[in-house]
Symmetry: C2
Subunit: 132 residues, 2 copies
Amino acid sequence: MVVRRQSKMRQVVYDTVVEHPVHPTAEYVYEKLKPQYPSLSLGTVYRNLGVLVEQGLIRKIESLDAADRFDGNMEPHSHVQCSVCGSLQDIFLSYDKGLDAAANRESGYAITEHNISFVGICPDCQRTQASD
Amino acid sequence: MVVRRQSKMRQVVYDTVVEHPVHPTAEYVYEKLKPQYPSLSLGTVYRNLGVLVEQGLIRKIESLDAADRFDGNMEPHSHVQCSVCGSLQDIFLSYDKGLDAAANRESGYAITEHNISFVGICPDCQRTQASD
DNA sequence: TTCTTATTAGTAATGATTATTATATCAAAT
DNA sequence: ATTTGATATAATAATCATTACTAATAAGAA
């Protein structure tokens, strides 16, 4: 295993992911930090996001978007994404081990995790559509 | 709405996705058809996969891989992907409307669908790992 | 058959991500 | 404190998947 240093840039990348209410993309983290760290490179952001995921400090999440998004909340939870505006929100549901057991029975795979993602229309877009 | 013609290439792209046991990528469909249709263009495969998804004849599925995969089975079902070799398999579970209701209570989003994806280790890779 | 328009092949362009490389920085051992 | 060996960085090039563009072709209605 590679010994990781506790570098400044990795710290601020981590902070940006954790502190941010939305689930930011690599590009977003870069744009956010660039003004304060003008020498920051996009490659550094990508590499550190990868290291942080590997360390289990953040996770990469599925999205309807093209770009990967990252989540600093390691408590197990799901996400809803709005099919109209793309907004993404957390959903906390208790982890259902029964699902894993059922999937194992069907497939023979040793299930290590499952992810539930929802698609829907956010409250704002519901209002907008209703008034059309 | 655009009027769609019934083109030869769209038909064979559809057939390839439906007939194939694994869930093929665009690249895979292209390689599969290229020998029989030497003039086939990768762009044509991508465009037709997109049209077929839009028409509800196939669906795009989530994957650990970089490339999108497609599924010709429109019966609602989930997938497991092996974290070791990447193999992908169908899992049929009854759709749980209770999940959508719970997600709606938590988020206020009008839920239109949910997807459950499993990660695990396939029987083959389990055997391989056991014998190491 | 003719006309309109979708479809195609071929290729260029884009966007996200990864790889490369030379330099800088850290941490431990001397 | 200096050296040493490794990781981290910035800058940039390269890659991979996907989309856009364009001129030629073909479906199918008139």
